[in-house]
Symmetry: C5
Subunit: 362 residues, 5 copies
């Protein structure tokens, strides 16, 4: 249970799901994560070269205009929409892209522009205190650069950063498209963790139900998990289509070799989608099982009541008969009638017992 | 609860869902909103120029035949079908279009004509007293004009009017197709508000169920919400197809730049559709949860009954035994038998208590 | 309730759903409606001319071979299959068409022949005593004639006949294809009436459930409505495909102008189909609600039982104690013990009451 | 009920649903029907000529090599796989065809070969003692011959045989493709009979439920019917696709005229499929209704208990009070207190009665 | 029950469903089956020649480079990923293939490379102690060789090996593509066994429910079976698409003749998929039935309670009346009143009995 507490899913849907009645193209941040400032984390590399620094000034990023190197600029903090707009101007991004970067309710999608690709996805991860985070992330992928926009600090890309820095695997020898793949792969890898956690929770609920160990919160917890799955589903499913299109895209910045890797991503996202649907179904059947358990319990309660009442009500009646004050009740005068009555009662008692036994209620 | 009252959804479906046995092409208003007169609200603008006036005379609108300006004519009040027909003649609209303008049961659709586009949609908004309004709206979009036909006064376009008047955003520099986009965008923005309200209602119901705070009306209210969702769904879903076709349309009056914005609309309408389906599923599972709660409660009632009966029925039987009037009951003469009996009863009482405790009924 | 009786749906499926083991092409009537004779109702018209007469002799119809006029021949009564075959020969219809005309179980369809179109549909209407009729109707549409075959007298075409006779609307100026459209439109208009009636019934059931006013027949009536919807659905849904094909058909007898009107029909049939599916779902959720109501009621019954039993069983036990005949029960001799006991009982009574109040059972 | 017994569906799925771990192409019979010998029934005909004989020797069949006549060879008994293989060699059939002929678990399908078509279907019919038979049947259709392979004697083709013999209808004037159509038509005609029987069973169950006449076997019988529908569905549904392909096939042995008739078959199989799905849904809703009935009954039981207990428990308590043996109970000495008490009890009784009446429990 | 124990399904999902945050292309084994060493089983054959040996050294396998023979190399044990990578280098396999070979969570798929096909499937079989095994298997099929990678020893291919060794059937005369078909056929044959076992289990559960023989574990066992079906479904369903693509593939290593056999495989996998879906539905309806049974039982319990209480509570009340100690109760003095009272009680008893009989509770 300690664990359940640690990883409590944040279920409340963010309020004001769209900045309403805005002029289209307006950059409005509607998420809940607040950064005090917008921070750029820039990594510039090729097979031989590696450089990383952070800055608050977008202009610093622009010095890496050398096409022989890949520049990855990660921007944390979308609530300072002014900064985002300034960045957009530096990188010459379409105003609708800027709107989508800041609109954390935007569903995953891919938009193809002449010089770059624009991809929206959702990061799922557990943060420090075990809360599930659904974080909006946008990727702009050009020939020799990748821009990533996140709601706030904390992400799933540390593995990728390490691989770049320590020259692990192929990443230093490849272009921006491979970096994009590596980032998407890292996002999807974290989906597996979340999906596995759901599966464990379902098993936990099942055990609770079977061990008759459920507390009053079980229905609520199941309901919350159901809702969490719904939200995760909404974050993950559109990515399936996005990756499918990405794989089939014939865009100059996507190298043919990377295509193989993208096919792999599609495989993974399909697998996750299938699992999510399976867990959805399992959670429905969990409620079914729970109902059955309740019914079984009530059955048991009823049996106890019926057995107690059925045995003692007739006996009490018999006792009542001989508690009557009629002047002339012949049995009352007989010497052994009290003991005979006990005998009769004991026989009735055992006949009843046998009857319930045969009915398999005992 | 005050809020629930304020925003009560009007659920009754309008009667006579089609003017039956009419000659096809007959313009018949079947809605419930009544305007005393049909009013034209005309806005004429381009980047430099802005003019607005209202009139009851369609001919007044025709003076803006200057192609360099965009003319937006908004017509309120469809119940005066005679006026509508007159307007139709002025603007040379096809008779079937006029029928669709007046037939408030027409589902959202798009019809492509040589010189103009005809779009039917539904406005969802809360009016003054918090009632959800589903209002039929038709757009006729030509090269330099937009006609909007509404059932009655009150709409969701005030933001657009303000932007035109105050020259906010791009709208004054663009053509009629951008105005069409802005109007559709305003309609869809209001869907988000309604959908959010539904989501809040569902959460309210959930809390009521979990806090055991449900009154007798809960099932009815859930049922009403279910029906409201069904009606909203019917208003919103066909628009998905309409916007999809609009985006792909290769019609001269749609500028290529506007296409990007339309793609955005499609994104939004898909998101709303998905949310509606999610809420639909959640409301089903709400009924499930409610059933579980009822069952749990009945279980509790049964337990109380069973415990009370199981404890006191045997004790009453014992008391009944010694209330019998047999002449010879040896125990009755013994001095301490009354106190011994009390002891026996107290033991029976605690044995029972222990038994129910172990069964976790207490 | 009077109304429910008036409009009782005839639910029993006709027996022998196909004339079995027949030679293919055999004309067999399997419906239940019996006409004593097959009657031809012939209307011949163009913009200037109008003539109408009835006859039992097919040959009478043939005199209108003038191509400048539209001839509508309506045949009532399919049970005289000999007559149908004779008619078929006169009009040179394919034997499989004749089989489909008589086979009232044939689902709606469209068959395209070189010189004519063959359309099968179902008329839904309430006859005099309020019973829902599902009547098989076949249309053969040629260049300058329309043949309609109905099971028996009584149909939904009176509006069309009136329009022809009184020269209302466009019909007298158009060709046979427009007449076909007008007839199909009349059929579909009646679907709206039936669908509306279903919706009213559902609302009636809902009110019954919420007002706790249900009698024993409610479940049966809901079940009957469910079955009626199933049958209506089966009559209506295939027409969607039929009209879709009709709209796209490039057949010489369909004028381009009529295409616009057909698109309108498709709109209507889609709307009806959607409504039927919505009512289907609503009726399922009606059963759900009914179950909830039953459970709530049982809960209430249980509560009354539990309160009564829990209060009086312990009190009866106490009374039983002092009804025992032990020689030495000290309390019995005390002067005020009877009144003290009453005090104790009243306290127990109110403690119980308070307990149930706090549990919100009272 | 007698009827239900007569037509009991054989529900147990045949064991060993595939001859496992066999070399592909091995001819293995896995059905349950045993014929002692494989019998050929040969009919040879054209418009003028008709001949029929039976034989155990495949070679006898080969003498009809005259292309101007149609030869229909019907083979009963698949368990003698040796014979089947011999026949296969005579008719030069592909080994995989032979495997499919003997494998009674093969689902309906159509395979197109250069000189012939291979069609697998399922015959549904009631045999003598009213048991539903699902029999595997394979058709090989060539230019001037049709081979039909059945599991055992007894089929649905007697009507076709009679038509050939007695020259009814078109069959004697047509080719092998029309014979194929006639056989498939006969198979599908029998589906209608089976489907109608299901519909009658469902109605019977409904009546049982509504008349409160259900015995303990009802749930089991419903479950069995559900399973029967599942099996029938599996036999019928794939045929839809088969006939659809057959209709569209451009194979030399299919005459264009026969195409019209095939379209008719497709119509029929769609109609049957739709009915099966409707019955499936109805049977689910039957269980729903049954549950409702049970709940209603339990409600009634509970009410009786509650009324009895609520009325008599307080009365018994009152009687208990005055059965106490306190020395000083003032009421005991009063002369009319016994009668007063009776009055009080009768008042309590009627108050209770009124209370339950108002609650509509009586 | 002994059998149920023997064939217990292993339901727990393997932990760590993907080696997370790995560099893409990394070969990581995530399964649970451990082999101490990776073993190669090599079979080399053509029509005349047959040779078989096992080795731990991949290089041994390479000596069979003669293209006129088919070489089947079966590798057991995926946990030694180092060995797998070495093998991959010998056979020049793409790194992503190696990752998929070792990743036992990879869903079935087919990848087409220039010189070979890569197929992932799942073997389902019962091992020695009756546990269901879901084993990951990968096939690499080249012009004259087939590589099969299994998690551990024990598979479903003994029949194929025997056929090769003993020259049964066509296999020795065919190429590597036919061997691939034979292996896939063997895998699918085992699906039939597993699916049949599920069907038997469902029937067993049904019998338990109908015979009222269910123990407390029944719900849990049904739930486990449900989960097993979900897992099997996930293993089997993607293969449908794989085989569909394989059949349509126009790859040089697939001989046209083998195409016929592949079509057969597709038939089989569709049949299995359909069966799995049917069993899924049946198991849902099993829970329904179980709920009905519980409700019926509770009904019976309630009836017994109601009958006992309703009969004896009024009788006890009557007895209570005459147990009162009023000074003046006239009946007490009458001589035969005790016997009259017995008479009254017996009449009440039988009236009650008759009442319950008429209500069909007895």
């Amino acid at each position: 249970m300690a664990k359940t507490k640690r990883k409590r899913l944040s279920l409340r849907r963010p309020k004001s799901s769209k900045a309403l009645n805005q002029i289209p193209g307006t950059v409005t941040y509607v998420g809940t994560k607040q950064s005090t400032e917008t921070l750029l984390d820039v990594i510039d590399y090729n097979a031989e070269h590696y450089e990383r620094f952070t800055s608050k000034n977008p202009q610093d990023a622009l010095k890496f205009e050398d096409e022989s190197k890949v520049t990855w600029i990660n921007i944390d903090g979308l609530n300072n929409t002014g900064e985002i707009e300034k960045l957009g101007k530096y990188f010459e991004l379409h105003p609708l892209i800027l709107e989508d970067i800041a609109n954390t309710n935007q569903r995953p999608k891919i938009d193809e522009y002449q010089d770059y690709l624009f991809i929206v996805a959702k990061m799922l991860y557990y943060n420090g205190d075990g809360t599930l985070q659904i974080e909006h992330i946008s990727l702009v992928v050009g020939q020799d650069y990748v821009l990533t926009f996140q709601e706030a600090g904390g992400d799933v890309f540390d593995g990728v950063r390490e691989r770049i820095e320590q020259k692990k695997g192929r990443i230093r020898n490849r272009n921006a498209d491979y970096l994009m793949f590596a980032l998407l792969d890292a996002i999807i890898d974290n989906y597996f963790i979340v999906v596995e956690d759901i599966s464990e929770k379902i098993e936990g609920f099942e055990d609770q139900i079977f061990l008759n160990d459920q507390d009053d919160d079980l229905v609520r917890e199941i309901q919350e998990l159901k809702r969490a799955i719904v939200r995760i589903r909404r974050s993950v499913f559109p990515l399936r289509e996005v990756l499918g299109r990405l794989e089939k895209l014939n865009h100059p910045i996507i190298d043919e070799n990377t295509g193989n890797y993208l096919r792999d991503l599609v495989d993974h996202i399909i697998q996750i989608s299938e699992n999510i649907d399976i867990y959805r179904e399992m959670i429905w059947s969990l409620m079914d099982m729970y109902m059955t358990t309740i019914s079984n319990k009530m059955n048991e309660v009823m049996k106890v009541l019926t057995i107690m009442a059925s045995i003692f009500i007739p006996l009490t009646f018999i006792a009542g008969i001989y508690g009557m004050n009629f002047e002339y009740i012949p049995e009352l005068q007989w010497k052994y009638s009290y003991f005979v009555l006990w005998g009769v009662m004991i026989i009735v008692f055992f006949v009843m017992l046998y009857y319930f036994k045969r009915k398999k209620w005992l």
